[in-house]
C-alpha cells in the first residue's frame, strides 16, 4: 500500500507531462484541422488537401524524403561496415558523431558559403573543367545537404547492429560454403535489418518535415510537408490548414513506423 502512494507521487509530474504535452497537443491538432481560416467548423481543409496542389506537394515531399533516405543508406551502410572492422572503432565512431553535435543551422550556413556562386564547390567544378553553375537554391543542393546532415544518424544504428553481430556466425557461414557476397546477403544484411530500419526511421520522418533547409538551401524550390505546415502557421496564419497537413504528416509517420516496426523484446 505504502509502495503505491510512493509511486503515485513519483508519477505525478510525469503523468501531467504525458497529458499536457503528449496527448493534449495531438488532440488540439486534430481539433483545429476542422476549422477554416475564419474559425468556422468545416471540412474545407480536408477538401483542400485533396486538391492537385497539395497532393503534388505531398508526393514531392515523399520523393525527396525517399531519395534522401536511400542515398544516406547507400553511403552509411558501407561506412558502418568498414568502421566495425577498424581498430579503435569506438573512437572512429565518435569522430563520425561529433559533426552531428554541431548546430544544424551552422552546418546549413556553411553550405550557403560552399555552394555559393564563388564558393568552394564552384571553384572545384571550374578546376575540373566543368565550369561553375548555380548550385545554391537547387534541389540537388537540398538533397546533398540533407544527406550530409542525416548520415551520422543513419550510421549509428547500423554500426550498432553490425557491432552486435556474433563473428562466429560469419565463420559458420563461410564454413558452410557461403561466398563473401552470399554471407552478406543471407546472413549479415538480414541480421542488421533492424539497424537499417531504425536508421530509416530517424532519417525519413525528419526528411519529410524539414523546413529550415528548404528555406536556406533550396530557396523555396522544394516544398516539403514541413515547409507547408510552417508556412500555414507562421506566414499565412491559417492554423486550420496547417493542422490538417500536420494530421496527414502524423498519419504518414505512424504508417511508416508500422511499416518499419521492429519486434522489440518487452522491457
Amino acid at each position: 500500500m505504502q509502495n503505491k502512494t510512493f509511486r503515485n507521487l513519483f508519477m505525478l509530474p510525469y503523468a501531467l507531462w504525458i497529458i499536457i504535452f503528449v496527448i493534449a497537443p495531438i488532440l488540439l491538432v486534430v481539433y483545429f484541422s476542422f476549422f477554416d481560416i475564419n474559425g468556422n467548423f468545416s471540412l474545407t481543409n480536408y477538401k483542400n488537401f485533396f486538391t492537385a496542389t497539395y497532393l503534388q506537394m505531398t508526393l514531392n515531399s515523399f520523393w525527396y524524403a525517399f531519395l534522401i533516405t536511400v542515398i544516406s543508406l547507400l553511403i552509411a551502410y558501407p561506412t558502418a561496415y568498414i568502421l566495425t572492422r577498424t581498430k579503435h572503432k569506438q573512437l572512429w565512431l565518435l569522430l563520425i558523431i561529433v559533426p552531428s553535435w554541431i548546430n544544424l543551422l551552422l552546418k546549413a550556413y556553411a553550405f550557403i558559403g560552399i555552394f555559393g556562386t564563388h564558393g568552394a564547390a564552384n571553384r572545384f567544378l571550374e578546376w575540373a573543367g566543368i565550369g561553375s553553375r548555380q548550385l545554391l537554391f537547387t534541389d540537388f543542393s537540398f538533397v546533398f545537404v540533407a544527406v550530409y546532415i542525416f548520415i551520422p544518424f543513419m550510421i549509428l544504428p547500423i554500426f550498432n547492429a553490425l557491432d552486435k553481430l556474433n563473428p562466429s556466425l560469419l565463420y559458420a557461414a563461410s564454413d558452410l560454403g557461403a561466398s563473401k557476397w552470399t554471407t552478406f546477403r543471407r546472413v549479415i544484411f538480414p541480421l542488421t535489418l533492424d539497424g537499417v530500419k531504425s536508421g530509416c526511421q530517424v532519417v525519413f520522418i525528419p526528411a519529410l518535415s524539414l523546413f529550415m533547409l528548404t528555406r536556406l538551401i533550396a530557396g523555396n524550390r522544394v516544398i516539403t510537408l514541413g515547409t507547408a505546415i510552417e508556412q500555414q502557421f507562421l506566414v499565412t496564419q491559417n492554423w486550420g490548414m496547417g493542422a490538417t497537413i500536420a494530421v496527414f504528416l502524423i498519419i504518414i509517420m505512424v504508417g511508416f513506423m508500422a511499416l518499419t516496426s521492429i519486434r522489440r523484446r518487452g522491457v
Binding site: W17, L28, T79, I114, V267
Partner: protein, 267 residues
C-alpha cells in the same frame, strides 16, 4: 587481395570523414578572413571575433540559450527520472508498454508537428510566447529522452538490490537515495547531458513557440543566415565547435570513468 580491399575501404572512410568535416573547417577557416566573404580569403584577422564579443544583443541571446538549456535539462531530468522509476514499478507488461509508447511519441514526432501543436497549446492556455513557452517546450521534448536514457539502467538493476536494502533496514526513501539513484547515476547523467544538447540544438520547436522579444541562438542564426553570409556567424560557429569538442571530451572522460558506454549518444 585482402590488402587492396582494405586500402580501398580506408580511402572510402577517409572520403566520408572529409565530407563530414570539410564544411565545419570551411566555416572556421573563413572566420579569420578579413575579406568579408566565404569565397576569397584576403588576409588573416580576428575582427569577426572582436565584433562578436562586442555584440551585446548576441551575447544576451547566448545567455538565454544556455539558461534555457540548463533549466530545461534540469527539470526534464528530475521529471524523467521519477517517471522512469514509476514506469518500472508497474509490473504489468501492458501498462508499461503503453506508458513507453506515450513516452516515445514526442521522440518520433517531427519537430514541425511538435512546434505547431505546442504553439496551439500555449495560445489556447494563454501562455505568452517568450521565455516560458520556450522553456516549457524544451522541458517537454527532453523528458522522454531522459526516460529512455535512465530506464535501461533501472531495468538492468537487479530487484534484489532494492530488496537487500529493505532487508537491511532501509526505508523507501533510503532505498531511493542510497541505492537506486546512485546505481542509475550514469543514466541520469547521460540523460541530463542529452537533454542539454537537444535543447542547445533545437531550432524548429523554438522557432514556433518563441515570441518577438525572445530568441535563442539557433533562431538567431537562422534569421542571420537568411539575410546571407556574414562572417561573425563563422566566428560564432568556431567558438561553438570548440565548446562542443570540449563538451564531448569531458563527457567521454566522465562516461568512461563511470564505466558506461558513451557511444550511443544520439537517438
Amino acid at each position: 587481395m585482402e590488402k587492396k580491399s582494405s586500402s580501398l575501404a580506408n580511402l572510402f572512410l577517409l572520403f566520408i570523414f572529409f565530407i563530414l568535416y570539410a564544411p565545419i573547417f570551411y566555416l572556421i577557416f573563413y572566420s579569420f578572413n578579413s575579406g568579408g566573404t566565404m569565397s576569397h580569403f584576403e588576409g588573416f584577422t580576428f575582427d569577426w571575433y572582436r565584433e562578436l564579443l562586442h555584440d551585446t544583443r548576441l551575447l544576451i541571446i547566448v545567455l538565454n540559450t544556455v539558461v534555457i538549456a540548463l533549466l530545461s535539462a534540469l527539470i526534464a531530468t528530475i521529471t524523467g527520472v521519477l517517471g522512469a522509476i514509476g514506469i518500472r514499478s508497474y509490473k504489468r507488461r501492458q501498462t508499461r508498454n503503453t506508458l513507453l509508447s506515450l513516452n516515445n511519441i514526442l521522440i518520433v514526432s517531427p519537430d514541425v508537428i511538435m512546434g505547431a501543436s505546442f504553439l496551439i497549446l500555449f495560445t489556447m492556455a494563454g501562455v505568452r510566447l517568450g521565455f516560458y513557452s520556450v522553456l516549457l517546450s524544451h522541458v517537454a521534448f527532453s523528458i522522454p529522452i531522459v526516460v529512455l536514457m535512465v530506464l535501461p539502467k533501472l531495468m538492468e538493476m537487479s530487484s534484489s538490490l532494492e530488496d537487500a536494502a529493505r532487508d537491511l533496514g532501509a526505508s523507501h526513501w533510503n532505498v531511493l537515495t542510497k541505492v537506486t539513484l546512485p546505481y542509475i547515476a550514469p543514466g541520469i547523467f547521460a540523460g541530463f547531458f542529452m537533454a542539454l544538447t537537444y535543447s542547445l540544438d533545437d531550432f524548429a520547436v523554438t522557432f514556433f513557440v518563441t515570441g518577438n522579444g525572445f530568441s535563442t541562438l539557433s533562431v538567431e542564426i537562422y534569421s542571420l543566415a537568411r539575410r546571407g553570409v556574414s562572417l561573425n556567424i563563422n566566428a560564432l560557429s568556431t567558438l561553438m565547435f570548440v565548446i562542443t569538442v570540449i563538451f564531448v571530451v569531458v563527457y567521454y572522460y566522465l562516461a568512461s570513468r563511470s564505466g558506461t558506454k558513451g557511444a550511443n549518444l544520439r537517438r
